[in-house]
């Protein structure tokens, strides 16, 4: 796997699948997702609720055990690691959760919350109070938490500060890669901007690689080098960030972009209305999963199997109508 680390790829995901058993059959939460992220870059993952973006983030870290597929981190297949090896790997791969209100233990002070990962990964022993406190203060300073807050509990802090604790916990073990699962969705815009700036600074300073999961396309555009759009467990489009906004190809991406309210009263987007709502991800069968809502769908869309085709360099689309296989750039 030397080719990947040589190419500067921090993470390579190959045909990742996560199915859940339900009474109605297998729920295809993540289906055949493949991508890679270069070191120090950010891959944005966008999609609506239920599209499998969070499940994918968790499957990469094996917080959900993947059904099949590979996750290569620095060339090492994470999915094949034994429990003890995986635990060691977790110092490299961390996650920031969406909701700073429920992802923190309400009975732990800021100090305890940030020391917890240090103790779990045995970076410090319980006896090394002094050294560990120094490290906790260092991390707090890094994420912009005032030192006086070290003995406060989460309920005493606002959402922005709580999310900084979440970021501090992830950073405490010096990871190379962080899955950011909607880290700013629960925050007000003015606070959201503070946290986004912090995350950008940390990336510039430490070269951390981010997988940034969000439903907010403006946020993803702002932060990402590359963007994946997901729909019902599948990738529908993947390209460099600017391409997605200048040349969106998949009808779902187009509809998603056109639905975003732009904070400018003179700006009117040509809305592409979507009929209906998300269809069930349980035993979805072959054919395009978006066909039922797609304004351009024809009969054959329901039976063409999923194909992810490169239509221009670095730009992949899974639409049989807009990216027919014969037009694809062959490599």
């Amino acid at each position: 796997m030397a080719e990947y680390s040589a190419g500067g790829e921090q993470l390579v995901v190959k045909n990742l699948k996560k199915y859940f058993n339900t009474p109605g059959g297998k729920l295809h939460a993540v289906d055949n997702v493949s991508f890679s992220i270069r070191k120090g870059e950010t891959l944005g993952v966008v999609g609506e609720s239920g599209c499998g973006k969070s499940t994918m983030g968790r499957a990469i870290l094996r917080l959900h055990e993947p059904t099949s597929g590979q996750v290569l981190f620095d060339g090492v297949d994470v999915t094949a690691l034994k429990a003890a090896q995986m635990k060691a790997m977790r110092t490299q791969m961390q996650i920031i959760f969406q909701d700073p209100y429920s992802s923190l233990n309400p009975r732990m002070t800021v100090r305890e919350a940030i020391s917890e990962p240090l103790l779990i990964h045995k970076l410090y022993r319980r006896g090394q109070k002094e050294e560990m406190n120094r490290r906790v203060r260092e991390i707090m300073d890094l994420v912009g938490l005032a030192e006086r807050l070290i003995n406060t509990y989460p309920h005493e802090l606002d959402g922005g500060r709580r999310q900084r604790i979440g970021i501090a916990r992830a950073l405490a073990v010096n990871p190379k890669f962080i899955v950011c699962d909607e880290p700013v969705s629960a925050l007000d815009v003015s606070i959201q901007a503070q946290v986004l700036n912090l995350m950008q600074d940390l990336q510039a300073q430490f070269g951390v690689t981010y997988l940034f999961i969000t439903h907010d396309l403006s946020v993803v555009k702002h932060l990402s080098n590359e963007i994946v759009v997901m729909y019902l467990g599948e990738m529908v489009e993947k390209c460099r960030a600017e391409q997605l906004f200048t040349n969106p190809v998949h009808p779902y991406t187009q509809a998603l972009l056109s639905a975003i309210p732009v904070p400018d009263p003179d700006y009117r987007s040509q809305r592409i209305p979507l009929k209906g709502e998300l269809t069930s991800p349980i035993e979805p069968g072959v054919g395009c999963r978006f066909a039922k809502r797609c304004p351009y769908a024809c009969e054959e869309c329901a039976c063409v199997p999923y194909r992810f085709v490169e239509i221009e360099p670095d730009h992949f689309v899974s639409c049989a109508k807009f990216a027919p296989a014969d037009q694809a750039v062959q490599r």
Binding site: S49, N197, S218, H222, V262, D264, E277
Partner: protein, 329 residues
């Protein structure tokens, strides 16, 4: 244009064990007939308390201390008895709450929940109410044959449609929508907002759209009130607010959101936090976070001033800021 609602010097304070929470402070605001007013503010700005006060939903048990006037249809709603208020509520003024998951009764079929609202305000038979309820379902885009289903059988977007059907069932004059799309995906949000606008245009309803999303406001409202720490800091038509922004807080809000139609390298957050509502600053409430604040701003509370006709701004320094001045204090 006729004013449909005039709020004058509304004050709502809550007595809590941590002191008096000053949620809404001397707030004056009016709404034009048949138009949409966007009320924008961050968590804790007092937006929801404002809507609840208009609906008369703040009760003694909330230990709310209220002052001011809320004029609607020639009457001050604050002087009405509970019985009189019940007549107004749901029939003339209705409200859509933020979370469609919790604002419906889980054990009653949705058609019955809509019919309930109709029966409460119109003298019709149960059968007629049910027929009208199904009409409403149809109007919000839900097939009539799903009327007998329960809320859990619907998706979030459809539940919010049911909530809107209930709110619109009696053809209200004024609709208060409190973050109606915050819990929904963008494509569903677009559908719901389009629907609210269509219903408004069809029935001549006036809408108060409470939201924290500046994009939603820019695309859906004719007038905008920016609320900070329980008072209106800027009010104007949508162009004045977005194109001739005059209050530093509004400018800060606009600079904090990443834009889809332009490239920003770095966001400009508003430093600091909203003041604690139990200990509001003596001067301008925004002064501690404002980069233009002077000694005067910290000592005196600024009154509302007209930056242009019908463009109200609560700031001492609008003229200097307009000229591009910064902090000289």
């Amino acid at each position: 244009m006729r004013k449909v609602l005039e709020i004058k010097n509304l004050t709502v304070h809550f007595a809590t064990s941590d002191g008096t929470v000053r949620a809404v402070n001397d707030l004056t605001l009016s709404m034009e007939k048949g138009r949409t007013l966007g009320v924008v503010g961050e968590t804790g700005a007092g937006k929801t308390t404002l809507a609840k006060a208009v609906m008369g939903l703040l009760k003694d048990r909330d230990r709310a201390v209220q002052g001011g006037e809320i004029w609607y249809d020639g009457r001050d709603l604050r002087t009405l008895s509970d019985a009189e208020l019940r007549e107004v509520r749901g029939k003339q003024i209705s409200m859509i709450f933020q979370d469609p998951m919790t604002s419906l009764n889980p054990v009653i079929p949705v058609e019955k929940q809509i019919a309930e609202a109709i029966e409460a305000h119109q003298r019709v038979s149960g059968e007629e109410a049910l027929r009208q309820a199904l009409e409403m379902l149809d109007m919000v885009g839900i097939p009539k044959n799903r009327g007998g289903e329960y809320p859990h059988q619907f998706s979030g977007g459809m539940k919010q449609r049911v909530v809107i059907a209930i709110a619109m069932a009696c053809n209200p004059d004024l609709l208060l929508a409190d973050e109606p799309t915050t819990a929904l995906d963008v494509t569903i949000q677009a559908q719901i907002l389009d629907m609210i606008r269509e219903l408004r245009d069809k029935n001549g309803t006036s809408v108060m759209l409470i939201t924290h999303d500046l994009g939603v406001v820019a695309q859906n409202c004719e007038f905008v009130a920016i609320v900070y720490a329980g008072e209106v800091v800027e009010y104007g038509d949508v162009h004045q607010i977005f194109k001739e922004t005059a209050h530093p807080y509004t400018m800060g809000l606009l600079a904090s959101v990443p834009k889809l139609n332009e490239q920003t390298e770095r966001l400009q957050p508003i430093e600091g936090l909203m003041p604690d509502p139990t200990a509001l600053p003596k001067g301008c409430f925004f002064a501690p976070r404002c980069r233009y604040a002077t000694e005067k701003c910290r000592k005196e509370h600024p009154p509302e001033r007209e930056a242009a006709p019908n463009h109200l701004v609560r700031c001492f320094r609008i003229d200097e800021i307009k000229k591009g001045g910064t902090c000289d204090g």
